[in-house]
Symmetry: C2
Subunit: 218 residues, 2 copies
Amino acid sequence: MEHSLQPKNYQKVPEPTLRRLPWYLSNVKLLKQRGEHYVSSTQISKEINIDASQIAKDLSYVNISGRTRVGYEVDTLIEVLEDFLGFTGIHKAFLFGVGSLGGALLQDSGLKHFGLEIVAAFDVDPALVGTTLNDIPIYHSDEFVHKMSEYDVQIGVLTVPIEIAQSVTDMMVGGGLKAVWNFTPFRIRVPEHIVVQNTSLYAHLAVMFNRLNFNKIK
Amino acid sequence: MEHSLQPKNYQKVPEPTLRRLPWYLSNVKLLKQRGEHYVSSTQISKEINIDASQIAKDLSYVNISGRTRVGYEVDTLIEVLEDFLGFTGIHKAFLFGVGSLGGALLQDSGLKHFGLEIVAAFDVDPALVGTTLNDIPIYHSDEFVHKMSEYDVQIGVLTVPIEIAQSVTDMMVGGGLKAVWNFTPFRIRVPEHIVVQNTSLYAHLAVMFNRLNFNKIK
């Protein structure tokens, strides 16, 4: 009966739920700033235009219970949500490919507030290897396996050119990384047990451009 | 019968299709590098593990026709896809909020290769206003409406703190911007005719952390 002791955040929460929870979190943070002490799903619903029943359902995955007519206690909800989403922990990551986007991500210290700390980066460019960016050391890619034993890292951020996206992914997985945050527009293949999140800025741009064109001629 | 003359890329293409097309594009680019002159949807399918019929259907939105048994001509397919996705055009944008992520995006010159050029940024921090980052001028937010008449801009990139995400959005829309690329974890509200793309890095992190935890105890 081990599974009954399983913490709630170890459940496989549906991806749409996980994508909506940060919306609730930021909204509740805002309500707190406005001086609210309690918040109901109906209240969040009005603010962000999502069904209250959907919000209640999403929040049922989280270890928190609201009080009838009063709702959720704001401070507790923020704390529990941040914890549930993994934003309070520190998840160390390596970044692969210190090009334009990779370099930009190294400089985005904001990720740390959401639980991700990039502790080292890898590239093959002699002009970059041995330097640091935002205090993050850049090593030669050949040093990756060695550095895996030095740092306790599970996540790899992929910002390499598409030509080597798959081969670098294979190297990452072979070296023991468990998750790939893929920023390339390339659809990488990984073994089943490896977690992949695709964040293609370019795909989002394509959608935005198409919609803009469409609105123009409508 | 005006609509029969409507260019194909002015159709409202389904969002999932628009998100998959960049995968095909990067894959075809790779095949070109390997020396291929023709590519079929079956071939792309094998490479990226998406149904060939789905690929053919997605590509039917694009102005290109394949030849039986031979497939699509690689150079033409790349050209047509890049054009269709809007990556060959220049879409000028303003960025709002030169914090950690905003500053990082200003430094990512890679966006230009995909059709987005951030021409100016806005902030209220006196230490930033009047300076440039990656040659991009940073103005005070109060100057936004004035700058709208100076630059030909339709897109606003939103990287402000969540507390002001909605009010800055309202200002952007009021000033005449037609699309908001929202990087905040806040769910902004806009009038119906305004295009919104949400790119929440934090939501992606949340999914990744949850899946990692889940795999650990599985």
